[in-house]
Every structure is written in C-alpha cells, then in structure tokens.
C-alpha cells in the first residue's frame, strides 16, 4: 500500500523548505501561540472577555465563521470554470481548491468552538450519543452539511494524492462523480449558513430572502481572490505551471459575480430606503450610525468602496490583465467581502436589539487575538497540505523518490 512511505515522504516534504518558508511557519506558530494564550484567558474568565453581551450576542467569531464557509464553498467553484474552460491540468486546480476547502472548514469549526459557552459539551451535537436536533434547527443542518463537505473533500483529495504518490491515475469512476457532487454540496453549505440568519424573524436585517443568493455571489468572489494570489505564489516557488490566461479568466468570472453581489446589495438598500419602515434602522446603523453610535460605519462604506473598485478593475480587460491591478483587485475583494460578511452582517442584525436598545459592539482584544490565532492555524494547515500535495501532483514526490532517497 505504500502508506508508510507516504507518511514519511510527507513529513520529509514538510521539513524541507527555504528560509522564507521557515520564516512563514515560525510567524504562524507565534501567532497561533498568541491565539492560544488569549483563548486560555477566555476559557478561564468566560466570554465576558469578548465584547459580546446579551444585546449583541454574536460577534466577530460568528462573522469569521460565516465568511470562511463562503471561502470553503467557493474553493470548489473552481471546478466549474475548470470544466467550462477546459483547463488542461484539471486535477491540479481541483486539488488546490479541495485543500483550501478542507482548511477553511477546519477554521469554521474552530470559530464555532471558541464561540461556545461550553465547548466541552460539543458531543451533545453528535447523533445517537448526543441529541442532535435534526428537523427544525438550521444550525444542526449546517453542522451536518459542513461535516459531509469536509469528508467529501478529504476523500477526494486524499484519493487523488495517494494515487499520484503511487504513480497511478486516480479512479475516474469514483472521483468525477464525487467532484460533481461537491459542487451542489458547496452551494448547500453556504445556502444553509445563510438560512441560519435568514430564518430569524426577530432580526429584520437578516430576515430577507436575498441573503442566500447574496452569500453565494460574494463567496464566488472571495474564494477565487485567494486562488489568484495563491497561483502566483505557487508558480514562482514550484514548477507548477499556471498560465496568465487562467488568472484572467478567474478575474473575469469574479467581475460578473461581484456585479451580481453589488446589484443585490443595491436592491436591499433600495427596499429599506424607499419603504422607509422601522426596519430601515439596521441598514442605517451600518452606513450612517444612529446618533453617536457609529463605530462600524467606516467598515460599511469600506466594503462597498472596495467591492466597487475591484469590480471595475476586473471588468476592464486592461486592468484585469495587469498583474498589479489584478492583485490589488483580489486583495480589495477579499477585504470587502470579509467586512461585508463579518462585522457588516452580524452586528447590524443585533443593533438595535429586539427591544430597541443600542449596544455598540466592537471586537475585544481577546476576540481579535483568538481570531488571528485561528486564521494562522488555517494558513499553517493549508501551507503544510500544499507542501505535500504540490510535489505529488508534479510527480516529484512518489513512493519511488522516497525509496531512492531513503536508501
């Protein structure tokens, strides 16, 4: 089976790297350390160390969770262009998306865990031994589809990699249907995450049917934004060949989805502004503040401005094909969607609260450090996965190379 060789080969691949690689790993480990110390403080003293209170009972953690579900969902959306535009090395592209999805889902689970009052009671959510309430709770359904999506991606990625390690082609009969299945699964995890908010009648800001399509549209932008940067890093540091044309196609695709995202945002704002009901207040809080309460107003505008600039950059062929404006666009989209789905979604949902009280939320130091820690853990996981996967798909790391170098 060559399982032993696979493990040893992987470890060797991880331990071999340039100075930049080790600096990156060290940085991530330090940041993870800071996150762990902050979380320890939170675990000992309670969630009072966050800025969340009864009025705003979800905050930065759940916002990050929501954003990352989008990243995980969108990673697999690469499969669609890979088919449509018939990119030559399909499996290379797909596997990078799969691994990104795996890392993002792990980060999602970590964000849920740190948000829980009793993380050690996590087993209450397991079927049979706990009391998972399938049926009515959207959160239960979300945990189920997220887990399935994680398993699905793990199975596909490990199968392709392990086969390649043994210098065999992956089994098309099993892998292609699974990859095709992961497309609706990706849509499902993000739709259900949107329903999590969408279904709450007590919070008019979320209780809008536009939420799920908007989630998908913005996810289609943020996922590929990461891939655009990543592809450039990989083609510089490895022998992986990724043509400029592929990057441009991704950017073009993002321009269309970003247009759709902005369109939906505009439709939502029109509805609130024109109908001018009490419910307008939540949108007002995001973009103008209410009285002296205006802490998140800059973020509301940043998201819209970043999204719009990136849309124009990716729409115009000249700026799309210029590597500097291409990267600028990718960073702007990533940041824009990050704000839009994090702070910009969660906080106005709770402000003012159901009895009209305004509590101004802004993440505490603990929340920010724990979040940095989780992102670093995700980056570390993704880095290590790529460190093993890339040489395997390039054919540089197989069971033979191991036995050659090993003896």
């Amino acid at each position: 089976m060559h399982l032993k060789e696979f493990i040893i080969g992987s470890i060797k691949a991880i331990l071999r790297g340039s100075r930049v690689y080790w600096a990156w790993i060290t940085l991530l480990l330090v940041l993870i350390g800071i996150g762990i110390v902050s979380y320890y403080n939170q675990a000992v003293n309670g969630l009072v160390t966050t800025s969340m209170r009864d009025q705003v009972s979800w905050g930065f953690y759940i916002g990050n969770f929501t954003f990352l579900v989008g990243v995980a969902a969108a990673a697999i959306m690469l499969v669609i262009p890979a088919y449509i535009y018939n990119w030559k090395p399909l499996k290379e592209i797909v596997i990078l998306g799969e691994l990104l999805a795996i890392s993002a889902i792990i980060m999602c689970l970590l964000f849920i865990l740190v948000d829980m009052g009793h993380p050690e009671r996590f087993w209450h959510m397991f079927p049979f031994i706990g009391k998972l309430r399938l049926g009515q709770s959207i959160l239960s359904w979300d945990s189920v589809v997220l887990t399935l999506y994680l398993v699905l991606n793990f199975v596909i990625a490990s199968h392709i990699l392990f086969r390649a390690f043994r210098i065999k082609d992956y089994s098309k009969r099993y892998v292609i249907p699974l990859i095709l299945l992961s497309v609706p699964a990706g849509i499902a995890i993000h739709t259900i995450t949107a329903f999590l908010y969408n279904g709450i009648a007590a919070r008019p800001f979320w209780n809008s049917a536009i939420l799920a399509p908007k989630f998908l549209a913005s996810a289609f932008c943020s996922g590929p934004a990461i891939m655009i940067i990543l592809f450039q890093v990989l083609r510089r540091t490895t022998k992986l060949e990724i043509e400029d044309r592929a990057l441009w196609k991704l950017a073009e695709l993002m321009a269309y989805t970003m247009f759709f995202n902005l369109f939906l945002t505009g439709a939502e704002i029109f509805k609130e502004a024109y109908s001018d009901t009490e419910h307008k207040l939540f949108t007002e809080y995001l973009y103008f503040g209410i009285g002296e309460h205006n802490k998140i107003v800059p973020y509301g505008w940043l998201a819209i401005i970043f999204d719009t600039i990136a849309f124009i950059l990716f729409l115009v062929p000249a700026t799309r094909k210029n590597i500097i404006t291409l990267n600028l666009g990718a960073v702007l989209i990533y940041t824009g969607v990050y704000i839009e789905k994090g702070i910009g979604l969660i906080i106005p949902g709770f402000t003012p609260d159901t009895l009209g009280e305004i509590y101004e939320y802004f993440p505490s130091r603990t929340e920010i450090f724990v979040t940095i820690g989780i992102f670093s853990a995700g980056f570390l996981l993704y880095t290590l996965l790529l460190k093993v996967a890339v040489p395997i798909i390039l054919g540089e790391l197989t069971y033979k190379t191991h036995s050659k170098s090993g003896h």
């Binding site: 003293n45 969630l47 009052g117 009793h118 706990g130 709770s137 709450i200 009648a201």
Partner: protein, 289 residues
Amino acid sequence: MKWMAVGSASIAALSTFSSCNSDKLDAFFQQHFTELDDEELQQVMERLEREYKQKFNVDIEVSSTPPIENVVFGYGLDLSKCIGCRRCVFACVEENNQSRNPEIQWIRVLEMEKDKGVDLLHTNPYYTPDEVPEEGHFYMPVQCHQCANPPCVKVCPVKATWQEPDGITVVDYNWCIGCRYCMAACPYGARRFNWSAPQIPAGEINPNTDYLGNRPRGNGVVEKCTYCIQRTRNGKYPACAEICPTGSRKFGNLLDEGSEIRMIMKNKRVFIFKEELNTQPRFYYFYGT
C-alpha cells in the same frame, strides 16, 4: 461508539485534571433531562446539591416537580396600572437566584413616552428618576412570553430548551452548549447568557430550587424566566406577580374558564406584543381601565 466514549473520557479527564473526582465526570457525561429515569434524575439532583454546597456553602434543595395536568399557564400584564417601580425585577432576581455580579435580570421594564405609544425606538430601560411614574411616561415590563410557537426552541441544535406540557419553555442548564442561537431568535430579548461565572452572596441564595427553574446556573449557559416553575407548579403565584404593589400582574390557568386570566381575555382589551411574528405568546398585555 466505544472510541467516542473513550475519547470523551480522556477529554473529561484532561479538563478535570487538577481535581479529578467522580462528580465532575458524572457531570460531564450527564444525559439530557428528558432521558433521565427517576433514579438517575435523583442522583443528578443529589450531585447538584453537593456541587452547590461546595460552591456556596449553603444547603440547597434541588427538586423536580412535574407539570400539573390540564394546566397551561398564562400571564396578564395591565399596562394602565404598571408604575414602573421594578419591584418585580428584584423579586425575580432573589427568587430565581440570578447572578448579582455580573447583574442578570430576567424582566426588563421599558419606560415609554405616552405621546409615542408602544414604540420600541423611544424606550429607556435604564430610567432612574427619584420617583415613578414619571410625568408623560408609561411602563412596559417585558419578560419571557412562554410562546406557544417559540422560535427559541425551534433553533436550538441540541434540544437543550423545550416547551413543557404546561406551556413553560425551560432550559436544561447542564445540556446547553452555549451557542446562543436562541438569543438571536427570541423577539422579546427574554434570554440571558452567563458571560462569566455568576456570583450570588451565600446569604442571598434561595435554597428551594427546581432543576428546570431557579437552581444556580454556571458560566456559559443561557437562562430565562420560567414563570417561577418551582412556585407555580406547587400552587403559588410567580414572585413577580406576588410582589406587584399595583396589581398589574395577573396569572392563572388558561384552560380554566373561570380563572382570572381568562376573565381578562374575555372582558378587557388585550394586545399581543409583536403579534406579526406569530409566536403566539401566553403573555397578554391589557388595559384594565
């Protein structure tokens, strides 16, 4: 299944590393309230009594009174009488062992402007005049509405909160995972979270408690009004209704046609708070005069 049990056991062992005793392990593995048989429930309640004794150095009795048959509790609140004195708030805190630090209160009294009517955007829950009622204002206490169609119960991923046959929505504080989805879903702001370990001076503890009601809670779980389940299932009024000096608070059995609450619904002008959300509250605001 076995490996999971072993896994959880090792986690539990780790988390209780410093003072590993069987009570802590039992607490970790405790099953959902509705799945405990009489004997197991008895053991759980005895364990809780030991825990509380250790924590507060007070003998607290934890019991579990089942719902009374053919009873569904309902509450009436007379907006024309309430003067906003908040005595109900403090009676509730004392009766139900709410945390004094940080302060947790299950009832929130909203001060409203008479010329605006019931308008949530012009309310003040933090009013502190020397004397109530204030000129030009009226008061609207809000607490759990014990909805017949409770959105908070619907969203709970682990069934840690549910509706009892007598209409009271309860929380199993030992099953709640602290995800706070119920708080996002409640349109009445009725749920409170223990953001840190609740503190109550030993002398202020109410030692007569119910498992589903006023027994002391821990850090990281959600709690809420239960219409004083420990009192009302034993034939008493809720603490808030009993203390109210103006008689604004009415309580009774909705299934009993002769009850005061039914008389009010028949003869007074009743209004349902946020009726458009179809939560079907069993908490009725009315104008007595």
